[in-house]
Symmetry: D2
Subunit: 339 residues, 4 copies
């Protein structure tokens, strides 16, 4: 940490900051510049809240030098994390696709969709049983009945299951049914929920919040990891910007930034990321070319009658075509694909 | 709702959309333009999910004509909502100030601060017992011990209490101690938590999410109101933008926009909104001049040693001066003030 | 400047950075931390481009310690700048209002509007002769004919004139007619235009760019000042955010931030800032309460027939009422007003 | 255009809007809903400013149905525009790469770099002679001397030239030297400059503004096209968001959105878009996979000594490797490449 003193800080103020740093266990190193003095504070004190230093008399600003995350970063663990779900390896040399409808609406069509996405090459099945909806008057999901339908689809197809959990009280129930727990964008900083999933031995798909910085996203992963669960898959799903042509703006550069700063695998959700099925193919190929470890794509047997997120869902046939288009791009970047 | 058909939509596609609308109970009215056809769908169907229309063949876009919220809007209730907490009336002709530290750290200093903010003119006391912190390594609050300290402060000063609740499992406990339940910015779309506080007969201070539109914010209020709890105070606390000179950017225009679209009272939090105590006075006066019903201001007896949010906290003496500065502005806009 | 070396930087890389800094005239001061080494570079080298340091092998990041602006900042000049236009003093203890239509459309109505805004208390008259319009098919302004109409309005009313200049080739012409040259938001980083107005002895009203940081805005002022023209009035006019309820989001906190970092006066434009005349009164009062030195407000005799920006224009009578409402707020913050 | 009347609009107000629309040549079609009346206005009146309708008494809002651009859109021209520069075809089935340093600094190294980027497969050479810099104290470019150096490089290598023009007064000069005129992000709404380049018979590379919507970007193209110059290449270079891990956020979804709404070719600039050479490879491959017609990449023989934008420049060897990596991705999406 570097503490920048204001140009008219007094000698006493500078000494007082140095003293406080020493008390907290930092070594200090003071540089007197032409206009300003800066104090270097040496030591790894990420467990301390040091923000208050900026309120000390004569202090202009603080400059953190170390990343605030430890477990999610590369300092302690350099090799990539491979999340294993049965015999599926996420984060390795194979690009993995998760597919399925936004919400589980009914058994027959869900299982039909599951069969089709499996045939097309998907390895995991998504579906929402607990839906966070902007309006209280919208369909909120089938709850446990939805989870039961998912289980049946897994039996029929062998696909592993991913579903969102929205309430700490539901984690145990959801974890008993599915293979990966999803934390949605709106709950990325629902810290109680993060802690709760951190206590289970289940992989977590952690979506980036609508306006979360990459650093805050890794701190959310840190919350889960600090409880002992290190099997995390990050998922970029579009951030909120001023542009309205797409529902969100996919931050594709998050892929190389995460690869540089973290060992965790990263997926992209082109369906929520754009809000329109028309843009899903271009964004799927771009994500894979940029180095994403996988994709999560919405597929619905009848988007025009979907109870949730129809506009961004592909029909199974379109999804199958898309998988064929993605395959050569995956190979062009030197990875494997199930198509 | 208006459905805009694409320029090359066929007659069949147009008729198919009309048919579907009729099935759902809408009356339809079709306008054939030079390039495009648009279909007006008449009827209040806010309980229906109509998003899927945009996926029907030949449809270009949907244009909602009605606001998605009902209870939070002015259609059904035109007069302002007055939230009553004891004999304090929020949303009327008096500007109300809530003050206190970000987190409750220790009994003695908390009560001292309470005494001072009361003397300065605050009518409610804030303090965090459950803290949502970006880092899992930061101080997370005293939990129920914090609530007990708050209760004592209420006994000593008579100030009513406001505190944040972050987990649906805690609502009952927190509601048994305090007078207003606060929903923080990070939880504005934690729909389970919204529903939970909607089931209690306690006023709710609903902070705007970091990147929530005003419409989404009112929809969050709608979630609470749909459960039966209509005592809601909205609180603007700064949105996330590209500017880094302040921690967030206070959207001051949210005040007249809310006043035009909703009957609910609106507060401003200049402390979180700017992230710096130096900017709190200017933003407090601006908020009041713009028509805010109240302010929530962080005050700490020793900001340089605060365990949370020190940089944005005022010392009690500064707060007292600020209240003196706010008073003439309140009167200049024709309202009353407790100073 | 602080140079942060990456955790695995070699001794040679560190020495190489130190050597380069010394060559450029910096004194260096190196701090060896637990994980990283940081090098303090002492000296005021704002005329040098030092960005390239971040590309040197082993460098992780640069942290600037000094503000990039000099003339616009408070280091060299602490007392506020007073811009004088005739006997009007901008930036002192009086709040000044500029009013008038977005575009000059026709002589008679322009002069009538001028007479009315003067009666209401405005001290300067605005009007656009060269209009930057999003569409090439929109009205582009009357050019020199508009400037002539402005001159007549000045003769009739005594009001001083403010108009926008959009092309370096027009500066001489525009400067020969009006009293203050306005640089619009879209041209805030049109550096050639900034340099051109910097060569004239005319005050400049410099609007903040739609997505300009406060630092970039002050750097735009620096461009003008570096050419010798120090008579600059900054004008906040709303930034671009995700919110769509208002055309732009007024960054009200820019007022105290500018007051802390610069000696230049700051105005607010609530008309462009919100895009709706309905929100102009609340935002005008807020701006004054926050410490703005003045306001620039759009007034049109017949907004429903305005060729440009009708939705955000007040009728003269509404403007007159607003001035009466602003007056007590101005006095509440201890300033003077012409009403 | 649809005009939405407010719930309490009177019969007279509705009739008055209908009358005004008829006067302007629209046919009207009125739909009376349960709460609100909406008026459909039929006719292509994009040359009219109809914004003022929102100020008529009783009007709540306007909903445009047609895109504001004509020449840049697909209504009048469905087939893709191919911009020809000598025998290079931009916008067809070949992905084209423009490469070179940010600024031209010196002859010898510039020509060496040109030779190397040609060998690596680039077809056009970029280099800045007139540089728009945030600070007036930064290197501003070599002006005409830079253009001369570019010409020599063209003679030596045969590469076509692209350079930025920042002032309407320079267009003639710059057009006499180079093959493509670039409009930078900061000047995307410098309408005088757009009009000026519209008068020349030279292709224009039009960068997207930092906070420009895709619609505004196409309107900027419309400005140029309205003057007669239809040879435009759009270039996505990152937009401004809250994320700070990258200098800007590349909006990769702009590629399919542009392909859906316009016939103009689109390039991506991964160098400015990310601000870091480390992220250029991932973003280059992503852009090509998403369907970009080309890339513009900064290459500098010695980034650590570049006078401008060193941190985002690749060394020639790295660029050459990148071209080898891009090639299979280009082929995976069915296009040709010069490698």
């Amino acid at each position: 940490m570097i503490i920048v003193m204001s140009p008219n800080a007094t000698k006493e103020q500078i000494e007082s900051v140095e003293k406080k740093l020493t008390e907290l266990g930092f070594k200090t190193h003071t540089i007197v510049g032409e206009y300003k003095t800066v104090i270097g504070a040496i030591g790894d004190k990420r467990h301390l809240d040091t923000q208050f230093f900026s309120t000390l008399p004569g202090v202009e600003s603080l400059v953190p030098i170390m990343k605030p995350y430890k477990l999610a970063g590369k300092e302690l663990k350099k090799e990539p994390t491979i999340v294993e779900v049965g015999d599926i390896k996420i984060g390795g040399d194979e690009v993995i696709v998760i597919a399925g409808p936004c919400a589980i609406e009914e058994e027959k069509s869900f299982i039909e969709t599951a069969v089709k996405v499996k045939e097309a090459g998907a390895k995991l099945l998504r579906g929402g049983a607990f839906k966070p909806r902007t309006s209280p008057y919208s369909f909120q999901g089938l709850a446990e009945d939805g989870l039961k339908i998912m289980s049946e689809a897994r039996e029929v197809t062998g696909l592993k299951l991913v579903t969102e959990v929205v309430d700490p009280r539901d984690v145990e129930l959801v974890a008993s049914y599915v293979d990966i727990l999803q934390i949605g964008a709106r709950n990325m900083q629902n810290f109680r929920l993060l802690k709760e999933v951190g206590m289970y031995n289940k992989p977590v798909l952690l979506k980036r919040g609508l306006s979360a910085t990459i650093e805050e996203w890794l701190m959310a992963a840190e919350y889960i990891m600090a409880e002992g669960n290190h099997q995390i898959i990050l998922c970029e799903r579009g951030i909120r910007t001023f542009e309205t042509a797409t529902r969100n703006t996919i931050d594709m550069s998050a892929i190389p930034v995460i690869k540089e700063n973290s060992h965790l695998p990263i997926f992209v959700d082109p369906s929520h990321g754009t809000g329109s099925w028309k843009y899903v193919p271009a964004m799927s190929k771009a994500a894979v070319a940029a180095g994403a470890d996988g994709l999560i794509i919405e597929v619905h047997h009848d988007p025009a009658n979907a109870l949730s997120d129809g506009p961004q869902s592909l029909k199974p046939e379109k999804f199958s075509e898309l998988m064929q288009e993605i395959a050569p791009v995956v190979r062009a970047v030197g990875k494997k694909f199930n198509v």
